[in-house]
Amino acid sequence: MQFLTVVIRRSLYAFLLLLAVIVFNYTLLSMVPGDIAETIAGESGGASAELMAEIRRSYGLDQPFYVQLFGYVGRVLQGDLGSSYYFNVPVLDLILGRLGPTLLLVITALLLAIFTGTLFGVIAAQRPNGIFSHFITILALIGFSAPVFWTAFLLIILFVSMVQIMPLSGLADPLTESGTWQWYLDVAHHLILPVVSLSSIYLAQYSRLARASMMDILGSDYIRTARAKGLGQRVIIYKHALRNAVIPVITIAGLQFSHIFSGAVVIETVFSWPGLGTLAFESILRGDTPTIMGILFFSAFVVIVFNLLTDLAYRIVDPRIRHSGTA
C-alpha cells in the first residue's frame, strides 16, 4: 500500500515537472534569434518580405508569445506535438520513426557495456593486482578518454576502408526490403561498428565501477561469514557478492539513459544512423521548433520515467529501501 502511494505521489511530481519542462523549453526556444521563415529563406537563397510574412502567418508565428505558448501546452496535453516545419509531417511520427534505431543502438551498446564491463570488473576484482586487472584499468582509461568520434573513425578506417568487411553508414542498405530476414541481418551488420564505438565509453565506466564495488563487497563481513561457512568461491562471487555489487551499476545504467540522446548524437552523425540524436541536432540548426520541442519533451519524459523505474528497481533489489518507503 505504502509502495503504491509512493508510486502515485512520484507520478504526480513527474507530471508537474514535465509541464514545467514544456513551459521552460518553449520560453527558451522563443528567445532564440531567427525563425523558420529565415531558415526557409536561407535554404532557398532568399525570399521576399511578403513571402516571409506569409510563412510566419501560416505557422502562427505572428501571434503573441503567450497565445502560442498556451496553444502549444494545450495541444501537447492532448497528445499532439504539432507538425515539423521542415518535413511537414507530424512530429510524433518523426520521433517514433527515429526512436527505434536510437533505442536499438543505445540499448545494445549499454547492454554490451554492462555485461562485459561487469564481467571484466568482477574478474579483475578477484585479483586486483593481476595482469588482467591492469589490462582492464588501461582499457578503461583509453575507452573513457578517447573521444567517441575518434574511436568511431578509427573503426571505420580499419573495418570499412582498409579491411572492407563493414558497411559505412545508415541503418541498412536502402534497397533491402525492410521486414525480410535479409534486412534484419543487414541491420545487425550495420549495427556492429556504431555499437562498439558507443559502448567503448560505457564499457570503461562499468568495468571500473564493477571492479571497485566488487572489491568493496568482497571485504565485507557477510562475505567473510560466507567463506567461513565453507561456501565455494564461485557461489560467493556470483550468488552473494555480485547481487550487491551490481546495485551501483544499475544506478548508473538508469541515469545513463538520460544521456542516450546526447551520447548517441555523435555516433549517429558519424554513421548516418537515423536516430533521434541527429534529428535533434539537425532540427536545432534548421530552426524546426516543433521538432525540437517534441524531442525535448520526449527526452524529459524518458528521463523522468526511467528515474522512476530505477527507483523501483532499487526497491526490488535492495530490501532496505523497499521497507523504508522513502528514499
Binding site: G45, I55, N88, V89, S169, P174, L175, S272, G287
Partner: protein, 529 residues
Amino acid sequence: MNRFFRMAAGGAALLAATAMSVPMAQAEPKQGGTLTMIYRIIAGHFNATIASGTPTGIPATQMFAALIRYDDQWRPHPYLAESWKIADDGLSVQVNLRKNAVFHDGHPITSEDVAFSIETIKANHPFKTMYAPVTKVTTPDKYTAIIHLSAPHPAIELAMSSQLGVIIPKHIYGEGNIRKNPRNSQNLVGSGPFKLKEFKPGEYIIMERFEDFFLEGRPYLDRIVFKKMSESTSRIIALETGKADISPFASDPQELTRLKKSKHLTLTPDGYSAIGPLNWLAFNTTRKPFDDKRVRQAIGYAMNKELMIKILYSGFAKRATGPIHPGSAFYSSDVNNYAYDMAKAKALLDAAGLKPDADGIRFKTTLNFIPGGAVWKRWSEITKAQLKKIGIDVTLKASSDFRSWIKTVAGHDFDMTLDSVFNWGDPVIGVHRTYQSTNIRKGVPWHNTQQFRNADVDAIMEKAGLENDLAKRKALYAQMQKMVVEEAPVIYINESPYHTIYNHDRVGNPPTDSIWGTSSPMDNVYIKQ
C-alpha cells in the same frame, strides 16, 4: 565542351529547336543499374515550385520536368516543351507541349498544368523576379500555353529550365495550401524521368525509372539512391571504397585534395556555371567609414586574393572579379581587378581622411562571416591580418548558427561580412537583387543588404533586364559589371570551388553536360558495368 547536345539551337536561341531533341551521347549507353549519390543535406520536400536551394533542386529535377533544358554552352533545348517561341515584341511566349508526355500517375501533361505551375511559382517561389512580368498564362488548346508578359523578359527561358521551372500536376497540387501539401515529399506525382519510390526523411531518397517518360528509351538508369552523408570523412570513405558513385557540390579543400589521389575518381568543376556561386566580402555602405567608396576600394586593394585562394582552397578555387560569375554568358573580365597593392590602399585611406594614430590604427571595425565550414573562419582571420597591415583594426564576430548570421546581416546590423551568393542562371534572377536600390529590404537575406544605391547602376540593370537582343544585353551587363566593381559595395574574391566527384569506372555521361550540372535531369547518365 558540348559532348551530348549535337543540335545547335542557333544564335539568339529564340527559335525553338525541332522535335528532334533527344541528346545523343558519344559512347553506347547501357540500360539498367543503380546510381548512388551522396550529399551532405537532404531536403524536407521536393516541390521546387515553392522552394529553391540545391538540396531540393537535385532530386526535384529528376522527378519533375521543366519546359526547357540547357546544354553546357548556355543553349536552350526542348524538354517538356516540343518547341517555344518568344513573340517579336517580346510580350508573350508560346509553348508547344509534347503530346506523349504524362505524369507519373498516367495523367497527360497539359497546358493547364503549365499555367498552374507558372502561377504557383510566381506566387510562392523565393525568386520573385523570375516570373514577375508574367500577367497571365492562357491555354488556347490542350498542348499550347501562352505566357503573357507586361514587358520583354529575356530571363524567362532560364526561368523555364531546371529546378526553376518544374511542371507539377494541377490535379494533385491544385487544392489547399501548397506549402503544406503532404505530397510534396510522399506519394509524389511528377513529370520527370524518375519517380519517387521511397523517401525516408533525413536519410535517403530512392527514385526509380519512369517507364512512360516522354523521351523514348530514357532514362538509362533503373534507379537513383540519394543518401544523406553529413560527415566529410564518411563521404571520402564512401567515394574511395566505391560505396558511392557520385557526390555533387564538394568544396572542402581537404576532401578534394584527398580524393584527387583516387584513380577511379574524377573531380570536375563543370556544371556549376548556372548556379554561379561567388564568395565575397560585403560592406554596409551606409555605415561610416564604408559610405566612402575610397575606403571600400582600399580594402579591395589590401586583400591578397590570390594568396587567400591558395591558402584557403588549396588551389581548387578560381578568382572572381565581379558581380557575374565567370561561367556566365554575360561575364565580362573588363573590370578593375583590385590587384594587391598596399601603397594604393594606404593612399586611398589617407585621401579619405583616415590617418593612422600613434599605434598605427586608422579605424576599428567588425567582420561577420557565415557560420558552417572551417574555411569561413580561416578566411575571416586572414582578412583581419591583411587589413591590420593598412591600419584597420578588425574584430571578428562569429555567429552561433545560420539564423543568427542572417538576423545580423539582413537586419543591416553589420560593418562587413563574408558571404556566398549564387547567380542562379540569369542576372535578373540572382544578380540584380544584390545591387538594386529598390531591393533594400530589412530582415530579408540575400537582398541588397549592402544598401547600395546608385541610380546609374539601377538604370542599366533595368535596361538589360528588358533587352531581348543577346549582344546588346551582353554589352549592357559588361558596363554594369565595370560600374559595380568600381563602386565596390562588395569585394569579389573567388568562385566557390564546387566540384562534382564521380567514379568514372562506373558512371557514364556524368551530369556535367549542362550549365545546371546535377540540378538537371540525369536521363543521360548510365552505369558502365
